[in-house]
Structure formats: structure tokens, C-alpha cells
């Protein structure tokens, strides 16, 4: 971690905080955010997703405990929990489910018209919907953290855990910030929720697999190496080992800003002159 990356990370955070502050003072953004959160938690889907994620987390947690109990290994409990199959299963379905209805439902119902003809700035609408999805995402992951706290109380030796605990939740947050912006973009492009979900899923999948895909193909070694840099799997591995790498912060945050600006333009494109 050198000074340059630290500075860029700080700049990105400042940009985000300034835009949030503008958003909060606007007022209408908060109104939409409240409404979005309400409609998320009033629908059964939210509770089904939360229950399922808790179940999967429980599985991976118990499986990780089993591994630690059986053998003398140098990985942490967190490391095993967040590299299990259940974790990646969660990773794949969670983003499409959270984001698919954001804009496509409005388009389908036609309410996008009443929304955009009300005195609301498009940027407020976008940020409100994005934040609502992100808050829901955090809430989904919250119960899993409780597992680790409970374990700490009765644990004897996990000196390594605090670093990898922070790392794991930092990467979950970062990946969420990024993939939810992808979901927003996918949802803003279509009025069909299924299409939005599939587009988001496909992207998450590719992002996960990039680096792996080329392993068996006859391509230069150097390509594989550089593409592996983009792979989510790689990032997760780095973070759960307890190394909180600012390069990943820059990577995810800058791409999130880019993708959200694409989404903004998709929402505004009807205003482009023909």
C-alpha cells in the first residue's frame, strides 16, 4: 500500500460523501429512499432472501468450524466460511434478486412517468434507489457477523481473526457497492425483471470467472495474470487473509461511479434530442 493509492482512495471517499450530502439535503431523495425500503420490506421476497442467506451462512459457518476442529490448519474461521460453496451461492443469486425490480418495475407499471414528471431530480431518484438496495444488502449480511461475535466469546485461539473479519466484511461491502450498481444499470435498461436479473447475474458470473476462464485456453500467460487481477475470487481471497488492499477500493469504487453514471444517462436518454 503506497501513498498514491491511499490518496486516491481518500479522494474517492470524499467524492462519495459530498454527493451523499447533496443528496441528503435535497429532501426528495430521502422520501424515495424511505418508500423504496418500505416496499422492499413489505414484500415477502425480502424475508425469503434474508432467511435463505442466513441458512446458507449457517451452513458455511458450521462447515468451517468442522474443518478447524478436525485438523490443525493455518487458515482462520472467517477464511473458511467465506470461501465455501454456500458463500459463493449467496454471492450469485443475491445481486439479481435485490436489484432486478428497482427500475424495471417502475417502467412496467408506468410509474416512472409520474416519478420523473414530479419535481424530482433524476440523480436523486437514482441514488435513492441505489442506496435502498445497498442498505438491504447490508441488512442481509448483518446476521452472519453475529456468528463470529458469538464465536469470539467462547474461542480460545483466533488471534488472526480480527484482521480477516474486517477484511471479509470490507470486501463484502465493496463487492456489494459495485455489483448493485451493475444491477441498477441492468434494471434501468429493460422493463422485464427477468431480463434485468439475467443481465446482472451474467455480469457477476463473468466477473467472478474472469481469470479462471482463460486457464484452460491457449492464451499467453501474461493475459491470465492480468485478467486475474479483475477476478472477484482473487479480491475475496486477498481480503479474507486480512490484507485490506486499497487497490481494490479504487477498483470497485471508481467502477461503481462509472456504472452509476451510465445508469443516470440511461434514465435521462429519453431527453436526448432526436
Amino acid at each position: 500500500m503506497n501513498t498514491a493509492t491511499v490518496i486516491i482512495t481518500i479522494i474517492l471517499f470524499v467524492i462519495i460523501i459530498i454527493s451523499m450530502q447533496k443528496f441528503l439535503s435535497g429532501g426528495t431523495g430521502i422520501v424515495i429512499l424511505k418508500k423504496e425500503l418500505k416496499s422492499i420490506f413489505y414484500s415477502p421476497i425480502a424475508w425469503i432472501v434474508m432467511a435463505l442467506v442466513m441458512l446458507l451462512n449457517g451452513f458455511s459457518f458450521i462447515a468451517a468450524l468442522e474443518i478447524l476442529r478436525k485438523a490443525d490448519v493455518d487458515e482462520t474461521l472467517i477464511g473458511y466460511t467465506f470461501s465455501s460453496t454456500s458463500f459463493w451461492l449467496t454471492y450469485f443469486f443475491i445481486f439479481p434478486v435485490i436489484t432486478m425490480r428497482l427500475f424495471s418495475e417502475e417502467k412496467k407499471l408506468g410509474t416512472i412517468e409520474t416519478l420523473l414528471t414530479a419535481p424530482v431530480q433524476t440523480i436523486h431518484l437514482l441514488l435513492a434507489k441505489y442506496l435502498a438496495a445497498l442498505i438491504f444488502y447490508f441488512i442481509i449480511w448483518l446476521p452472519s457477523a453475529v456468528n463470529f461475535f458469538l464465536f469470539r466469546i467462547s474461542s480460545v485461539d483466533n488471534s488472526n481473526a480480527i484482521g480477516s473479519f474486517l477484511g471479509a466484511y470490507a470486501i463484502i461491502l465493496l463487492v456489494g457497492i459495485f455489483n448493485i450498481s451493475i444491477g441498477c444499470l441492468a434494471s434501468s435498461l429493460t422493463k422485464n425483471q427477468l431480463v434485468a436479473a439475467m443481465a446482472c447475474f451474467t455480469f457477476c458470473m463473468l466477473h467472478f470467472l474472469v481469470g479462471f476462464i482463460l486457464q484452460d485456453l491457449p492464451v499467453p500467460e501474461s493475459w491470465q495474470g492480468s485478467l486475474f487481477y479483475f477476478s472477484t475470487v482473487k479480491h475475496v481471497q486477498i481480503f479474507i487473509s486480512g490484507l485490506i488492499d486499497s487497490r481494490q477500493f479504487i477498483y470497485y469504487l471508481s467502477f461503481t461511479i462509472l456504472i452509476l453514471s451510465f445508469t443516470y444517462n440511461v434514465l435521462e436518454h429519453r431527453k436526448w434530442k432526436t
Partner: protein, 314 residues
């Protein structure tokens, strides 16, 4: 209140709205009339700033819809066609959300919502889910939404679409009542609605304004060419020619023959009353005359006449 100048909208290979200009003054109730596909909804969407015009400008209460979008939108209460609503919200909750979205806060918002609930008669359904509402109630919720921040201008796109006659009548009463405090632009293809509620009519066909005036004026213009129907007890072939020979008659057509009685429709050219000449002719020919009646042109006739004449031109 509304000022539209040289507004055009072109889609790929098709001109939806073709260089229209009009103004609406504060306090007017204007009917925006036209057959389906005439460009009404496109025009309304440009007025509300939802889609941009290809060329031309729209200003609402002095604010340009695009350069001062938020200010212009604050003055508009808009109810789109088919009234899109969130099905997963309750009526009161939805109205509260819309009120806050339009900038009302706290006590103000509560008061605004209560007022429109009373005005649109939504009291007994205010706790119902929107998904369970009938078409008529949905329409009223849409109107309540448009009214909630007490905007100066109401734009209603086909507000009575899909309502039953009783509901339409009630809706009309409501519009009249609202016209006291608001400027209203209603788009519709139902003529009786316009005739009964509006001070002014703008008829749009194929993207162009083809008539703009008071409903009575429009029908009076046509009254010069009114229609007379008569019933004569005769089956002679020459009847048509004899009647057509009377000065001022444009066209005679026989509707049908029922027994000895023949039914004719006569279109007159001028505003001269030709009924006396027809009666004299019937007496001279010894045809018993059972009915003679002038049909005054209604707005409906005006509409049909104007829109069809224009369509056949192009």
C-alpha cells in the same frame, strides 16, 4: 399558463407532432381533442417534460419545461393515461408519498392528503391496497395525486378512459368544480365530455392543430351546413330530384323505405331555412308529410367533419 410555440416531435420515420403552437390562459378548462394516434399523449408528455421536443419550446407559468424543469414541474399536476400507481401501497400511504415527493412536509403534507381524500371522495378506501381498487377508484386516486400539492395547472390524459357512465358524470362534475381554482388541460376522444366541461377546444389530427375555439363556435361554424330529416308517404323515384332542385340544398339521400313511408336526409348548403320550401313542395305534389326536423350540428359532427376532411386530404 401554458405557452407552446412551434412544437414538433419526430420519431424515426414518423412525425407525431407537427409544428403546433397554442396558449392556455390561467383559469381556462381546455379540451384537447383528437382521434387515437393524433399526437395528444406525445404533446402532453412534452408539456410535462417527460420527453423532449424535436424542436420548439414549451413554457409553464413562465418557466421553460427543459431549462427550468423543476420549477415548471412544481406547477403541474399530471395524471398520465391509464393512471400508473404502485400496487403494493395503500391509498393514503401513496398520496402521502406523492405529497412529500412534491415538496410538502409534515403537517403540510398531512393536510394536503386529507384535502384531496375529501375532494376525490376516497375516505372509505384510504386504507385499502391500491391493487384491490376498481378502475374508477384508481382514476380518482390518480386525480388526487395530481391535486395533492394544489398545482396551478392540471394536465389529465384521458381521465375518463374506462369508466362507466355514472362515474364519467361524477368525474365531469369534479372537473367543473376544480376548474374554479385550477387551469385544466384535458385530453380525450370523448366529445360530450369536452362539450360539457370545457371553455375551449383544441382539435388535433395527425400531429396538427386543425381547430381551436369554443365548443359552441365550432359547432356553430358547422351549423350553416345543417341536416334536415323528413318522412314522406311516397315511393316515387323522382322525389330526390325534385327536392334537390330547391335552392340551397346540397344533397338529398334516401335513408330507407318502410312500407309507404320514405325517409330522407337533406343536407343544406347555407343557413337559409329551406323547410318551408320543402313543405310547399310536398303539398304541391300531394305527398303526405309526417315529420320534418332540423338536426343541429354537435361538436361530434364538427369533430368527424374536421378530422375526416383532413385525413382524406393527406
Amino acid at each position: 399558463m401554458i405557452k407552446v410555440s412551434n412544437l414538433s416531435k419526430q420519431y424515426v420515420g414518423r412525425t407525431a407532432v407537427n409544428n403546433i403552437s397554442f396558449e392556455v390562459d390561467p383559469g381556462e378548462i381546455v379540451g384537447f381533442l383528437g382521434p387515437n394516434g393524433a399526437g395528444k399523449t406525445t404533446t402532453i408528455r412534452m408539456l410535462t417534460g417527460y420527453i423532449p421536443p424535436t424542436s420548439g419550446t414549451v413554457s409553464i407559468g413562465g418557466h421553460d419545461v427543459f431549462s427550468e424543469s423543476i420549477k415548471a414541474r412544481q406547477k403541474i399536476g399530471y395524471m398520465p393515461e391509464n393512471v400508473p400507481l404502485y400496487d403494493d401501497m395503500r391509498v393514503r400511504e401513496y398520496l402521502r408519498f406523492r405529497a412529500e415527493l412534491k415538496g410538502l412536509r409534515g403537517q403540510e403534507a398531512r393536510q394536503g392528503v386529507n384535502e384531496v381524500i375529501d375532494l376525490c371522495d376516497l375516505k372509505q378506501i384510504r386504507r385499502q391496497m391500491i391493487s384491490s381498487l376498481s378502475k374508477g377508484y384508481r382514476q380518482r386516486v390518480g386525480l388526487a395525486d395530481a391535486l395533492v400539492n394544489n398545482p396551478e395547472l392540471l394536465i389529465l390524459d384521458e381521465p375518463t378512459n374506462g369508466l362507466d357512465p355514472n362515474q364519467i358524470r361524477r368525474f365531469r362534475e369534479l372537473i367543473k368544480q376544480l376548474g374554479i381554482r385550477h387551469t385544466i388541460l384535458i385530453s380525450t376522444h370523448i366529445l360530450s365530455e369536452v362539450e360539457m366541461t370545457c371553455n375551449r377546444v383544441i382539435i388535433l389530427n395527425e400531429g396538427k392543430i386543425i381547430a381551436n375555439g369554443e365548443p359552441n363556435d365550432l359547432s356553430r361554424e358547422l351549423r350553416s351546413a345543417s341536416t334536415i330529416s323528413i318522412e314522406l308517404k311516397t315511393s316515387e323515384e323522382k322525389v330526390k330530384d325534385l327536392i334537390a332542385a330547391i335552392a340551397g340544398i346540397k344533397k338529398v339521400s334516401k335513408e330507407h323505405q318502410s312500407g309507404e313511408w320514405g325517409y330522407f336526409t337533406i343536407r343544406t348548403e347555407t343557413s337559409n331555412d329551406v323547410r318551408e320550401s320543402i313543405v310547399n313542395l310536398a303539398n304541391a305534389q300531394e305527398w303526405p308529410l309526417r315529420e320534418i326536423r332540423t338536426q343541429h350540428a354537435t361538436l361530434e359532427d364538427a369533430f368527424v367533419e374536421i378530422t375526416q376532411a383532413n385525413t382524406s386530404d393527406s
